[in-house]
């Protein structure tokens, strides 16, 4: 099986992120592999272990490749970094275009991605890449079974009412949700392999992309400015003893907050 995993490195949830100015953020230098992408990598490796084949991890990033190395340390075979000054601060549509232009002539069976990235929280790239490659996709899967002979997958995706069971022909793209599998802890042997891994770098020109197309897509949606989250007023601690405090809380919820 030929599997590609789209990965991204994002600031650690505990990293400090502040608004420096209208157009600039101050981000503490603590990055890790996007949580959902790790799940996607694990799912891919398990498929490879079951059916044989190759897993390639792919990222679009001008500065870091942590997630690629993470992928290799978990068992991926190859790592690709798409990097180009034109892709700096690109929106998900431009990024999807770059990814799709790389994948369009590759013989893949499966593309996996995380359900969303913990930086832009958008969840756009997965389905957008599927659209550009004209392959079916399912979002936020929590189970994955493959029949390589029949070229078919059976997945469950989370919906409001429960879990929807979907049969899907391959090649296809799935975005992975928590619960699909638990990412393994890499062996030190593989960690060292990852440390030494050669990462293939590709730019827009080598992907055969027209820079104007990327610029056009970047224009579709941009961030105008950043703002700090609205501050909540300080907490009102109800200091009375039990059971008065419960009565007071209910009164406040009813009369002050007006939510019951």
């Amino acid at each position: 099986m030929e599997i590609f995993v789209l990965v991204k490195q994002v600031p650690d949830p505990e990293a400090m992120i502040k608004v420096k100015s209208d157009s600039e953020l101050d981000i503490e230098n603590r990055y890790f592999t996007n949580f959902f992408d790790e799940i996607a990598i694990e799912a891919a490796i398990r498929m490879k272990e079951k059916f044989g084949g190759k897993v390639t991890v792919l990222t679009v990033d001008n500065h870091r490749v942590d997630a690629l190395r993470r992928g290799i340390s978990m068992g991926a075979d190859e790592a690709i970094q798409i990097t180009d000054p034109l892709l700096e601060e690109a929106n998900p549509f431009a990024i999807s275009r770059a990814i799709a232009s790389y994948l369009k002539d590759k013989p893949f069976d499966l593309i996996l991605a995380g359900r969303q990235a913990m930086d832009d929280d958008a969840g756009i790239v997965g389905p957008a890449v599927a659209e550009l490659l004209e392959i079916p996709h399912v979002n936020a899967i929590v189970s994955l079974e493959i029949d390589p002979q029949k070229k078919e997958a059976l997945v469950r995706r989370e919906v409001e009412e429960g879990k929807e069971i979907i049969a899907c022909s391959l090649p296809a793209l799935f975005t992975c949700q928590k619960g699909l599998c638990s990412p393994r802890i890499p062996q030190v042997l593989n960690v060292m392999k990852a440390m030494k891994a050669q990462i293939k770098k590709l730019d827009i020109k080598s992907l055969g992309l027209n820079p104007n197309e990327i610029l056009g897509l970047k224009d579709i949606i941009k961030i105008k400015n950043y703002i700090s989250p609205p501050k909540r007023p300080p907490v009102k601690m109800i200091k009375e003893d039990f059971p008065e405090n419960v009565k007071i809380l209910v009164k406040l919820l009813r009369e002050e907050a007006k939510v019951i």
Binding site: F32, V65, D66, R69, R70, S73, I185, P186, Q187, V188, L189, V191, M192, A194, M195, K196
Partner: protein
């Protein structure tokens, strides 16, 4: 262009990886590891299966030798999780297996080193005795030459992994009158029905690093064959020990840095949230001074420790520097854990809050690799020499 103060991208990646392992496997259990005073066998096996016990050894024995700086990164990140577990793991990775790998014959390496790297056999090193710690010349454990081998007699104290050890590297003297020149290293395994060996003596209960089990080991006229002598020449024990002392000292510094950071990171969060007299205590100058001082000393000792790691890696002589690194980082850590206890106020006295654990774990650093009193006497002398 010299003076590049950055880690390589690969080393940063390695650090992230170890940090992630520690977060996943150790962090959820830190309290339990401290309270139970039991060796965490399941955790040990997981670490072994991931391959971390072999980071100083050759591939042909199942290891995966990393560069020195990466090894230090490993010790630092591991100690940030659990000091006690780090103690046992580092003993296995470094001191407990060094001499086996260095001087053991092939049969010994296959029988001892290979399973040690897999975590199946646990090792340790034995220096300390009742009457001698930093004073190596005070060693009384005797090694007597007999036909076909040696007989070892004595008692060793404060042995990390003692209660669970399968093999030990014992420092013994062939003649106390020779002082340092009489010291040598021997491989002695645990006594079994088939083989003579050491027995476990009294269990030691420690105030910190409690999941690392410690005890006395008794060598009662134990016979060991000739090949168990770990060395090329008799009398060179101290010289051989010096081969790893630099690493041991920088490793101790890494432990100190990890504990200090934990203590003050927690204290920082506490100070920002703890309200007294209408303000978070982080707004008060005397509290701020504690953090400022810590930060300055932490940065300095952290950078210095990694500089020493770099010197070791580049085979630059650095005996004094490594002693300084250990001394500096540990003293900084003493300050940090003490201040963290003060910042938490009355809550520090409760076992519910972390600073007491860091304080307890940190104390041992004053002794590992030489007490500060001995180190300072030596270093002062060196500094003042013409």
């Amino acid at each position: 262009m010299a003076l590049d103060f950055t880690f390589t991208e690969e080393q940063e990646f390695f650090r992230q990886t170890v940090r992630d392992v520690v977060n996943r496997l150790i962090m959820p259990r830190v309290k339990e590891l401290d309270e139970k005073e039991e060796f965490p066998w399941d955790l040990w096996r997981e670490f072994a299966s991931l391959g971390y016990l072999g980071i100083r050894h050759e591939e042909k024995y199942g290891g995966m030798a990393l560069d020195t700086i990466s090894q230090m990164i490993f010790y630092e990140e591991l100690a940030r999780g659990s000091c006690g577990f780090a103690m046992s793991v580092i003993m296995q990775v470094l001191m407990g297996t060094y001499f086996i790998a260095r001087f053991g014959n092939e049969e010994i390496k296959q029988r001892i080193l290979v399973p040690a790297i897999k975590g199946e056999k646990i090792g340790t090193i034995c220096f300390t005795e009742d009457q001698s710690g930093s004073d190596l010349a005070g060693t009384r454990t005797l090694a007597t030459k007999v036909p076909g081998g040696w007989r070892i007699n004595g008692r060793k104290q404060w042995i990390t992994n003692g209660p669970i050890a399968d093999f030990t590297t014992v420092m013994a003297t062939v003649d106390p009158k020779l002082g340092l020149k009489g010291l040598n290293f021997f491989l002695v395994e645990k006594k079994t029905s088939e083989r003579d060996g050491f027995v476990v003596g009294q269990r030691l209960h420690k105030i910190g690093s409690r999941c690392s089990v410690t005890s006395e080991l008794i060598y009662d006229n134990v016979f060991i064959p000739e090949e168990n002598f770990l060395g090329e020449e008799i009398g060179k024990g101290v010289q051989y020990a010096a081969e790893i002392l630099n690493e041991v000292r920088v490793m101790t510094a890494m432990n100190a840095l990890a504990i200090a950071k934990n203590a003050m990171d927690d204290a920082r969060e506490y100070a920002k949230n703890r309200i007294a007299f209408g303000n978070p205590i982080s707004k008060y100058q005397l509290i701020r001074e504690k953090f400022a001082k810590y930060w300055a000393w932490y940065e300095a000792s952290w950078n210095y420790a990694y500089k020493c790691a770099w010197m070791i890696q580049n085979k630059i002589p650095c005996t004094n520097e490594c002693m300084l690194a250990k001394y500096f980082a540990t003293e900084m850590c003493m300050y940090a854990v003490e201040e963290a206890m003060r910042i938490y106020g009355g809550n520090a006295f409760s076992t519910e809050y972390p600073p007491q654990r860091y304080w307890r774990d940190a104390k041992f650093l004053l002794y590992g690799g030489g007490t500060h009193e001995v180190l300072c006497d030596y270093l002062g002398r060196v500094f003042l020499k013409d």
